[in-house]
């Protein structure tokens, strides 16, 4: 029976994932990629929830439920976001975030 991975490891992974996502959001110019990086962040949060639930509070399932909802809403968010991006493409003929900086100061 292999001994189980300690919580900290998992938290480390999730945190790493989160910051990778954030890094992607900050650096990538492509809107779709940025959206994906955000999904990464959300997923890292999911990992958190599941891990906490599994390790610390196994007797109830709030964490898992929360994960489900996050996934759903992420989907919805993505749908709207992509719709907007498509519309942006119609008007700007590009999905580079740098091209959509008309409004500033």
């Amino acid at each position: 029976m292999m001994q189980e991975i300690p919580l900290t490891h998992i938290l480390f992974v999730s945190t790493a994932l989160f910051f990778i996502g954030m890094y992607g959001l900050f650096t990538r110019r492509n809107l779709i990629t940025m959206l994906m990086s955000i999904e990464l962040m959300l997923n890292s949060v999911n990992i958190n929830f599941v891990a906490f639930n599994k390790y610390l509070f196994p007797d109830n399932l709030e964490g898992l439920f929360f994960t489900l909802f996050i996934i759903t809403i992420a989907a919805a968010e993505a749908a709207v976001a992509i719709a907007i991006i498509i519309n942006l493409y119609r008007s700007h003929h590009s999905i580079d975030v740098e091209d959509a900086t008309e409004m500033k100061y």
């Binding site: 954030m22 900050f26 940025m34 975030v97 959509a100 900086t101 409004m103 500033k104 100061y105």
Partner: protein
């Protein structure tokens, strides 16, 4: 003693006249303005003579001493329980004497003006202002409260301002009126502070109380004011000196005299009234009023003495050189007032030593008549030749005999030739000076000689000298001659009034006797001076010019009035305006206001500086977001935990 209450009407009547003429004069009353003014003033004059008679001959004296009677007292403005401005009427020898002088001279001037100002556009306004002045002057005389004196003091000043600037289209007149008002205002500041000092320490502003408290050397007030001192002088000296400064301003004492000559821009009757007989002696009156207190401070009295003497001499010298006849008269007025001042200065409070006091007021009394006579005479002359300059005159004695005689009498009077009025009063002054202070006596003597010299220089230049070019006769209507005649009569007669019986420092009659031996010196000097004047000016010659050349620099200096005006101009135009006024105005625009502006500018600058935050790049926004998170975390997890 309310049986003097009718005195209230003496100032009130002119006031009523002023209000009537001021409101309706231009439209409705312009025709009868002169008569109205004269009539009301005539009534006042009668009343004041009645008052004089009642006071001096009936009930003024209580067991041989003239009383100070407060006929009316009404609290007008209460500052604090014991400090208040009371409007009151004080009846005592000097106030009654002044009443007589002011009303009668003013009446003469009113009458004279009927002819002199005939046909003026603002005739009604002129009489309104005359009435205003008379009212203020009478109020000043009757004041029983030192702050009341100050109020009327100011009113007198403003009415003089209005009358000098009567010809308001003439820039010179406007300038003169401004000068007169501002210079006297400056002096009044001293007066005001003096009042504040006396009032603070005296715990009252009622003249009677003040005198009572400051003359009893045991009273707490006296001790407190003498013990408190500033820059080495006791507060009493300060207070009195400052009050004297006010007086000096009004009475054109050196160095505050510069306004008086210019004030001659006003109509000549006005000069006769205000700048010869009444307002300019207000300073003397003020000192006389407060004399008991003055007598408690040696220093203050010395200041009075020396300023008076200096002015007397200074003015006399200048008078010898002027060519504008009114200016000559103006300077002679200044010098005569100097006489009165030092006479007060050397006097003691009552007793034999009180001779100076009596003499001074006596001279004030006589001077009022002959000096106003001189001015009115000059007025008549100017009315004829339409010029103030000596060179335009000469040989007028045939054309205007009445004026000529009157003028001559006045000149003799001021020169102190017996039996004319001036002789007696001047004699007293010289006697007092001789007993008290030899230096002053010397100055006085010399001044007397100068006086008679320049007066006759004037006289000869007007009436003799070269033959006149003017052919037409006529001295103007009887309303102009009558006052001359009356005043001439006074100039002869008033000298015989037993003045010392009535007006003395302590109210006790004073026995005086003319010491003929003593009076030889001044009279002889005067006569010599007159002869000199006659030799120079009786008929055209160049002797005077030679002498002038002989004096050289001194003459020009005197002719230029010793450059006092220039000094004043320098101080105001070259120092106050550019070095105080303009810098302040500049600072207000650029520093104070500029600072406020600066705040606005800085804010705008910052706003412009940080606009980069809003870069428009959504990724930067996210970055700032994260930065915020990190900052908050550090701040609140590690620092403000």
């Amino acid at each position: 003693m309310s049986n003097y209450l009718y005195i209230l009407w003496i100032p009130l009547l002119p006031l009523v006249t002023f209000v009537l003429l001021g409101l309706f004069g231009r439209k409705y009353l312009s025709g009868i303005a002169g008569l109205l003014g004269t009539a009301s003033l005539f009534t006042s004059t009668i009343l004041s003579f009645v008052a004089a008679k009642q006071y001096f001959f009936e009930d003024g004296k209580v067991n041989g001493v003239f009383q100070k009677i407060v006929a009316l007292k009404y609290t007008w403005l209460e500052f604090s329980p014991n400090l208040s401005i009371d409007l009151g009427i004080i009846v005592d020898p000097i106030s009654v004497m002044m009443l007589v002088v002011v009303t009668s001279v003013s009446l003469m001037v009113h009458v004279f003006s009927l002819g002199y100002m005939k046909g003026e556009e603002r005739f009604a306004t002129y009489y309104a202002f005359l009435s205003l002045f008379t009212f203020s002057m009478l109020g000043l005389i009757l004041s029983s409260n030192i702050f009341q004196v100050y109020m009327f003091w100011e009113l007198v000043g403003v009415s003089s301002f209005l009358l000098i600037s009567y010809y308001f289209n003439k820039p010179s007149a406007v300038a003169a009126s401004k000068k007169a008002f501002i210079v006297t205002r400056f002096a009044d500041l001293g007066f005001l502070i003096g009042i504040l000092i006396l009032g603070y320490y005296g715990g009252s502003m009622d003249i009677g109380l003040l005198i009572e408290r400051f003359t009893s050397s045991s009273s707490t007030q006296f001790i407190s004011i003498t013990s408190a001192s500033f820059l080495g002088a006791s507060m009493l000296t300060w207070g009195l000196t400052l009050i004297f400064v006010g007086g000096a301003g009004k009475s054109a004492m050196f160095p505050l005299h510069i306004w008086l000559p210019d004030a001659m821009e006003g109509p000549t009757p006005v000069s006769a009234l205000i700048h010869a007989a009444t307002m300019v002696v207000a300073g003397v009156y003020l000192v006389a009023r407060m004399f008991p207190v003055f007598s408690m401070s040696e220093a203050a009295l010395n200041i009075v003495t020396y300023v008076g003497a200096a002015s007397a001499l200074f003015a006399a010298i200048i008078a010898c050189t002027q060519t504008d006849i009114k200016r000559v008269l103006a300077y002679s007025t200044m010098s005569q007032i100097g006489y009165m001042m030092f006479a007060l200065g050397i006097s003691k409070n009552g007793g034999e030593g009180g001779l100076g006091y009596m003499a001074s007021l006596f001279h004030l009394f006589t001077h009022a008549f002959f000096k106003s006579l001189l001015f009115l005479g000059a007025g008549a002359v100017i009315h004829m030749v339409h010029s103030n300059e000596m060179k335009d005159m000469g040989g007028l004695r045939k054309l205007m005999p009445v004026t000529h005689i009157a003028f001559l009498i006045a000149c003799l009077a001021i020169a102190g030739i017996p039996p004319f009025a001036g002789f007696f009063s001047k004699e007293e002054i010289l006697t007092a000076a001789f007993h008290e202070n030899k230096i002053i006596y010397g100055i006085a003597l010399f001044t007397a000689a100068l006086t008679s010299y320049y007066m006759f220089r004037l006289y000869f230049n007007i009436f003799w000298s070269k033959e006149t070019t003017i052919s037409h006769h006529g001295e103007g209507p009887w309303v102009m001659k009558l006052p001359l005649i009356i005043l001439a009569a006074c100039a002869v007669g008033v000298g015989f009034v037993p003045f010392s019986q009535f007006v003395t420092a302590d109210g006790k009659p004073l026995v005086t006797h003319i010491d003929w031996v003593f009076s030889i010196a001044p009279v002889v000097l005067s006569v010599l001076a007159i002869l000199l004047a006659a030799r120079f000016y009786k008929n055209e010659n160049d002797k005077s010019d030679k002498v002038v050349a002989g004096f050289g620099g001194l003459y020009t200096a005197a002719y230029k009035k010793f450059y006092v005006d220039e000094v004043y101009l320098f101080i105001t135009k070259k120092i106050i305006f550019p070095f105080i006024g303009q810098p302040i105005a500049w600072a207000d625009k650029n520093m104070v206001d500029g600072f406020m502006q600066l705040l606005a500018t800085i804010t705008a600058k910052i706003a412009l500086l940080i606009k980069g935050l809003q870069s428009g790049k959504v990724q930067n926004y996210a970055l700032f977001f994260f930065g915020g998170v990190v900052a908050l975390s550090i701040l609140f997890i590690y620092i403000w935990k």
